[in-house]
């Protein structure tokens, strides 16, 4: 049987992840702005960056969970 306690422990700190949301948005916007000049392109680039960062965080969380289950 899969032990979900680590997953609950990880997701239990979700309110703390709220602090990351504005940071992800501003970092993506500023990074996008250093790569483009037109607002539409900046926003497009920022949205791609947000998806990439959130996906990366999700993968790290999944790796920690899998490692916790295996150990």
């Amino acid at each position: 049987m899969i032990d979900l306690s680590l997953l609950f422990a990880l997701t239990g700190s979700v309110p703390n992840l709220y602090y990351a949301a504005p940071l992800v948005v501003v970092i993506s916007l500023v990074y996008g702005a250093t790569r483009h000049e037109h607002p539409a392109e900046i926003i497009k680039h920022s949205l791609r960056s947000i998806i990439w960062v959130v996906g990366f965080m999700a993968v790290i969380m999944a790796v920690i969970w899998v490692a916790g289950v295996m150990i």
Binding site: I27, V30, A33, T34, R35, E37
Partner: protein, 221 residues
């Protein structure tokens, strides 16, 4: 006046007028977004200004006005300030004024609260904060005063409960989050300075083609 033209595969080339890049960079460092306003790039200037200043002030608020301070004392070298926070520009400079004011033990400007006993490490007593509704019967002669953007008063001693330890205890994760937010605001402003000095790092058609051919080569391998 320097002007950069980025040729595009389709449509008009992107033209960026940097004005005097050195003036723009100094302005951008001093006031986030000001370098872009000087270059008449208002949309990007506003974006940088909002992103950097909102992040900075949210961080400062989370840390109750104490997370941005300059200190080079034994046991309290605040490396976050010279490496990151100072790059927010003028809004981070009051920390230098406060550090200069308090370096010989003087009280800071803009006192946020007072604590006693001042010689807590000698008596090994824990610090008490003087509140409006919790004033001691006899006001202590010497108190330690927390100042807005000032270093923690009193000596920094890891063996005792110093003021910095009280800040961490009182504000818990908000102190760390405030520090992180203000550090990130500084890094973001460095990116804005780069953009004001060099222009955006837009890929030209040639560079894009080279990257794509490189990618294709890797795929084939």
């Amino acid at each position: 006046m320097s002007e950069i033209v980025y040729p595009q595969e389709q449509g008009e080339p992107v033209v960026v007028n940097l004005g005097n890049p050195y003036v723009a960079a100094v302005l951008a460092w001093l006031i986030p977004g000001a370098g872009h306003f000087y270059q008449l790039r208002f949309a990007k200037g506003l974006l940088f200004m909002l992103c950097v200043l909102v992040t900075y002030f949210v961080g400062l608020g989370l840390g109750h006005g104490r997370v941005v301070y300059a200190s080079n004392r034994p046991n309290d070298f605040r490396w976050q300030y010279p490496l990151f926070q100072i790059h927010c520009g003028a809004v981070a400079l009051p920390a230098l004024v406060q550090a200069y004011k308090t370096k010989d033990g003087d009280d800071p400007y803009f006192v946020l609260c007072e604590r006693y006993p001042a010689k807590y490490s000698e008596a090994d007593l824990s610090l008490k904060r003087i509140e409006e509704d919790n004033k001691p019967a006899v006001m202590p002669k010497n108190t330690l005063k927390d100042g807005f953007m000032a270093p923690p008063p009193g000596i920094a001693d890891p063996a005792h409960q110093d003021v910095l330890a009280r800040w961490h205890f009182d504000y818990k994760h908000f102190f760390e989050m405030g520090t992180l937010y203000t550090m990130i605001a500084g890094v973001l402003n460095l990116l804005a300075v780069y953009d004001a000095f060099c222009g955006p790092a837009i890929l030209t058609a040639d560079q894009r083609e080279r990257l794509e051919s490189k990618k294709k080569g890797q795929d084939q391998i």
